[in-house]
Symmetry: C2
Subunit: 539 residues, 2 copies
Amino acid sequence: MLASDQRNLALDEAEIYSDTLGSSEDEEIACGLPVSSEKFAKFESLPSKHDHEVFFRECLEILFKEAVFDGTARRNKVLDFKQPAELQEIFDFTLKNKASSHEDLKNIVKDIVKYSVKTGHPYFVNQLFSSVDPYGLIGQLITDALNPSAYTYEVAPIVILMEETVLKEMRKIVGWQNGEGDGIFCPGGSMANGYAISCARYKHFPQIKTKGLHGLPNLVLFTSEDAHYSIKKFASFLGLGSDNVRLVNTDAKGKMNLKHLEDLIEESLKNGDRPFMVCATAGTTVIGAFDPLDDLGMICQRHNLWFHVDAAWGGGALMSKQHRKLLKGIERADSVTWNPHKLLTAPQQCSTLLVRHENILSEAHSANAAYLFQKDKFYDTRYDTGDKHVQCGRKADVLKFWFMWKAKGSLGFEMHINKIFENSQYFYNTIKNRPEFEIVVPEPECTNICFWFVPTSLRTSSSQEFHERLSSDKEYWKKLHTIAPKIKERMMKEGTMMVTYQTHKNKPNFFRIVFQNSGLDKNDMLHLIEEFARLGNDL
Amino acid sequence: MLASDQRNLALDEAEIYSDTLGSSEDEEIACGLPVSSEKFAKFESLPSKHDHEVFFRECLEILFKEAVFDGTARRNKVLDFKQPAELQEIFDFTLKNKASSHEDLKNIVKDIVKYSVKTGHPYFVNQLFSSVDPYGLIGQLITDALNPSAYTYEVAPIVILMEETVLKEMRKIVGWQNGEGDGIFCPGGSMANGYAISCARYKHFPQIKTKGLHGLPNLVLFTSEDAHYSIKKFASFLGLGSDNVRLVNTDAKGKMNLKHLEDLIEESLKNGDRPFMVCATAGTTVIGAFDPLDDLGMICQRHNLWFHVDAAWGGGALMSKQHRKLLKGIERADSVTWNPHKLLTAPQQCSTLLVRHENILSEAHSANAAYLFQKDKFYDTRYDTGDKHVQCGRKADVLKFWFMWKAKGSLGFEMHINKIFENSQYFYNTIKNRPEFEIVVPEPECTNICFWFVPTSLRTSSSQEFHERLSSDKEYWKKLHTIAPKIKERMMKEGTMMVTYQTHKNKPNFFRIVFQNSGLDKNDMLHLIEEFARLGNDL
């Protein structure tokens, strides 16, 4: 099929500009460049078109085997860690004038895979994304093969209608009547939160779009101290200033303290600031806590504040009848960030901002560029949705998620969610009863489990004693603080698993393990637990 | 190789959550879900693991054939246009509870390809991106198979070092000594321009990061009336206000008028505003004009203004000794936007912001999240570069471009650039001498050619007469204005090519054709010209 296509463009280009492709005997592929030209002559040997096709397929076999299939097999490592200087020795990153041969390129592909972390591996439980969803991956490959840019219907008809369908379905699941409102796909949840802030302030002060913040009162917003750092980051980026994000205390479970929120609102008003927004979190980054959305919705209504819910992490739980109660009250939100690339395991990136107000995304962000969003087209130009975004060209992040949804059905997502919650509950219940583990946050709500691993040298006779020593014994605190980084170093160097650690409030470094991969089972939970013991007991 | 991996995760997950995958006889793949569970039993038949592998490969063959190879063959259509309502009839976008069979999914893949625009087709000359680069596509597939997130070295070691290499090489090409400075990959050139504005204002008022714009003087920036709309869009988004983007007149060739810029700066100062930045353009969106960078650099230095060059489109010309003179003076810039996914044909998206100031990206945007950027790691944490970005999770856009560069060499890029400039020059010279075409901007500098197609009914005896009628005869102007949309409709419905049109200043709709695909030759230029004649003569 391929060899017959003598005028193929994708091949043509490569044949000219790599010393390993194309055939000087084939007039068809010379593409207008005279074969005798001086430049062309610089290349020594030009293999046939057949070689070219072979190269393509060989690269894919390497990827299938070493990255996707073997790469995610339990018997293989999660990573083969090298220090930066070492990696630069082994792997030739430098860029040269001359082209590379296909032989060299194949070795490069192998090395890229070898020295990359296998984020699809079952024991990559380090971040709020993991696993390889086969339908997600196929969806991604479709997107790449077609390479659309999601701004106009004329260029991306399938993508535009998929976005409409998926975003509406997600709004229905959030609980907005008939899926009312609007939404966009964003390059990450941070961007989605940024858009939410932009919409919220536009709602209160539409003149910001043209006049800016100059001359307006000092705008302040509220989020919990456990909220994602993107709220502060985007407050800076959007010109509001990170100090104008007022941090509300959280309780022991990581939930926003309502009384403190109301106090901070009062205080801001007294100071002459202008509160305009509350950002709640449904599934905090470290602890996985869900803020009390129902109550927050009512507070926002009372104070006329935009109510945003950052459900980038926890949003996936909405797919499960059993677990969606964690997000009770989310339907009160003005906007919701929800990343299918997290709990629902769509490939990177797949993040959405959903808004209840139908036209606000467009009103706040449109610029009506005459060269792209012509109004005299021969189709309904309301389908040219790109002007809602601050991006112009935009990767079609919807396709893979739509394809996964079509493949598995909503029921498939529900079973997936139920399974990973079941796994994490099992992991939690198991470590709770083991002497090497101490719990940071009891009764976790989401699939993040936070714990200390306590080596033999620091072990106490009971959890009670552990917590007493932690709060009274500074030396003990310090010693424990060094344990997680040491275990992390060992696990990375051995490549057996990846779990992240961090501090939180006044707590010494602890591990946060995260489950999104429903391919894991109870045996995996036990395996991970034993691996901690193996790596950490002697420290 | 695949069938032997019984514990494969990627497969396991799918087997549980689709009614067409997995085998209930295979204990290994049950992943902890009891086979007899009520939910599991809802699925009727569970094909074997072998079927699963077959499905994967079959989807890839469809993509190879129908999207990549045949999809970009000249003998085939660029698109198969359907109106939105029609497409929704033909293609079932709806999402259901139940999973889909592999047979259904394969048909869906075929239909996605069928109704998508083939942006890799030689006659897709509609946007500032096009063509399928085979190495770029392989690079994209590697990225997808590994699914990294580019924030920390521990999760994306190869990607982080590729970014360092590529961005430094690009800075050297811009002309900054030893490649000094810093840079980031952004989800699109609009975002890159946004980052540039953010850095520029931070340089003048670092307190913006924490305190915001409140209480500061009214900040204004300058760009030409032909600049990309993202400058205004991000001025709004960043809280500066689109009115505070002061638009400098352009001359007949689309270049910024220096005298007018200086007048506007004066005027702003008189009004008590605070100028802080000039955004020049190297390759404007419609006309492809290059602003006089040397002069602009000197004006910026004199007025202490941040000098940004939006070379998203024209940046690729820096790769060619012959054409890089178009960007003479770019080395004076404080920051440069340069999108390899445009002139250099990297797959979507691949955009960079390069800055001459080493720490400013990090100073302006860092938030030091304790859960992600721990300082007590066992490797040099300066390689955890994610905190420079406003995104948190981030797709690794560098990999495909690095791979292309490795495959073709800088020389390959140079030949590519020279070829597409040669093509566009040939296209321009040919239409200049044909009576059906009238030139909008004489002597184009980049590979965009702007022209009117004049049907027989509106043809004049000379170009001079054409321009006279256009300026004196309102009816003639109106008639001509309707021609481009009509031709566009015809070409889309026939699917033979895609070329965009727009108005500009007081000109009626005209076409802008754009060349980035070095697989095209002079015969293609002639073919495109004849196609306009065929579609438009009788209008």
